[in-house]
């Protein structure tokens, strides 16, 4: 199981990740329609990528009244079933990182990890975005 991680010290703010993502998600280029974001602070001294980390305890999944959101147990990716989604917006309101927005069909839309080979990572030349292997909790030991 993998998830995405973004590093502020390496992110140059170029936004190629968002361009590549938006093209897949929305059928054209516009970073505002991407499934990840970069927040730039202090005259671009800090570019903070914010990505869906496929939460251990996903608020979006918990908030959905229609069981449209589920986790793929094999990959760990939290997915939205667009057939079941009613567009109620509960998940959008629930995610504190604002990683869900409506697609053009008014259905909730989020990062699906590009079926295991994320485009955002592919186009991140400075390697600020990386795929991280998820360690099961019992295997994480202190010290």
């Amino acid at each position: 199981m993998y998830y995405l991680r973004g590093e502020f010290d390496l992110c140059t703010g170029c936004g190629a990740c968002m361009l590549a993502c938006s093209n897949r998600a929305a059928g054209g280029y516009n970073p505002r329609l991407a499934r990840l974001k970069i927040f730039s602070e202090n005259e671009n001294l800090v570019n903070r990528p914010v990505v869906c980390t496929q939460c251990e305890n996903p608020f979006c999944l918990n908030a959905c009244p229609f069981e449209a959101i589920s986790r793929n147990e094999e990959t760990g990716v939290v997915l939205i079933d667009k057939q079941t989604c009613t567009g109620c917006g509960n998940c959008i309101a629930a995610c504190p990182d604002e990683m869900i927005q409506f697609d053009s069909g008014k259905k909730a839309d989020k990062c699906d990890m590009c079926e295991g080979d994320p485009l955002c990572v592919k186009y991140c030349v400075p390697r600020a975005l990386q795929l991280v292997v998820k360690q099961p909790k019992q295997e994480v030991k202190a010290g």
Binding site: D9, L10, T12, G13, C14, G15, A16, L19, A20, S22, N23, A26, G27, G28, Y29, N30, P31, R32, L33, F39, N42, E43, N44, L45, N47, Y123, V125, P126
Partner: protein, 617 residues
Amino acid sequence: MSAYMGKLLYIDLSSGKSSEISLEKELTKNFVGGKGFGAKILYDLLPAGTDPLSPQNVLMFMPGPLTGTLAPAMRGCVVTKSPLTGTFADSYFGGHFAQEIRFCGYDGIIITGAAAEPSYIWVDDGKVEIRSAEEIWGLDTFDTVEVIREELGDETVKTACIGPAGEKLVSFALINCEFNRHAGRTGTGAVMGSKNLKALVLRGRKTVQPTDPQAFSKAVDQAYSELSADETIAGFTGDGTPASIDFANDEQLLPTHNYANGSFEGAAGLNAEAQREHFWFRNVACAGCPIACSKVGKIKTGRHKGMISDVVEYETASMIGSNLGISNIREVAYLVKKCDALGLDGMSAGGVAGFAIEAFQNGLITPDGTGGLELKFGDTAAADFLIEAIASRRGIGDILARGVKEAAKTLGGNAADYAVHVKGLESPAWGPRSVPGMALALATADRGGCHQRAFPILYECGGEWNGEPVDRLGLKDKGEIVAYLQNYLAGVDTLVKCDFAAYGIKDETYAATLEAAVGEPWDAAKIRKLGERVWNQVRLFNLREGFTRADDTLPKRFTSEPLPEGPFAGALVSLEDLSRLLDDYYAERGWDNDGRPTEEKLKELSLSDMPTLVRHP
């Protein structure tokens, strides 16, 4: 489907009305975007002799058809008639602003007229609103961006704005496109100020969609791999442009003490190592750029400790550093940031300050005009005073705010002898006395003294042309090299390319990307022809404004005062040399001896019968 959004936004600030202009097929086919659109539309819309600071002048923000896509390192340009030179002016900017024009649904924004009161324009996904700028008039560029973000309640809006210098119509005021990204040269900020326009603010949710997504992705990946394989590009990623300080210093091209010399004993204080040591933290990039030539950090020690500074790029490190005899990079970073905040082009500001110091030494500027301050090289206080005085137009600053050409006329005496400019634009940081090809490039650049229209130095300092080593000090082939480079760069400036990325991305790859984006056949040869068409279109504008062969010239410092020392001591480009270079260059271009395109040439470029393609609505 095509990567064109299909329309231009036209805003008349006098009436407060906006409208949309559909893109003519002839415009996209023959001029593509960016510089090409700017060249044709300025020619179509502006009557000859228009005062650049009158409401009749047009101020245009032009992205290209690849801007806003994943095609690496695409930008935008501001096009207008320059108050500094009176020529066509195109000034390029990186950052994220040009992309947002496309996301708002436009292939360009044309602004004309003048607002009755200080205003800013807010374009929100196609909705255009002209808002009061009373609250932000007078603010520096950093504060302007912050206050607008607060007012609109969104940190992600994209802003282009002027500082106090633009409001006061300083002839070399810039337009800031957020945080060390500017349409810096030729005084576009003064044009904006003359329209009472403090800022243009954008937010858009439309997408840019290439005609052939598969072919487009393939071309983009090719461009990415070319960039990652190129050594020059790796240099920009590692050290940014300050690496050129060492090169220019070694080759005696580095302007020092108002171009009196070509090398500077304090150069090591300004280069990439010095900048890294004193403040770099990290790399920063413009939209969609894998190169990241920008380096941002905080000054670690001294009186500017804690100040955030972007890389002091080569041009300003030289013009405000070596050209003013200042070797402390922390002081130069402070002065450059002050120019950015006040909205002054740091390159021209350095040129003007160097000129002012020399005029002071010669007694043409006296302590009366400087509040008693002695102006001297190597003194941050003198530079600081001059920047402040120019931006506020106080004392001697009012005269200097018109640029070195006009200031020299006012000061009289021998001031014109050391006013280093071409067509009124202060020269860039490449002293050309030992590189006559570069001298020709400066003399013939469409917007005045500019190194970005052709940069033959790389051929002259150890390069080859047609398989033969280039004779650095000789005149042979220089006309051909300059015309070739100007055409090529004007071609890819329609996209709008980044100068640095163009060192890595091959011309066929640009062509393949464009072809896939817009669904029209393009190849490298066609892009060069496009560039030649655009170059000639701009020439027609400048000729119509009254420019002649006599204006394709160089400052006296380069033609009459030899380099004083070093391996190229004695080098200069005499007026006789220049005349020979111009003869060769005009012949290469198919222009007559006065620098006018022949009818035959215009026909070849489809310009002789080109109709008006854009009109005021």
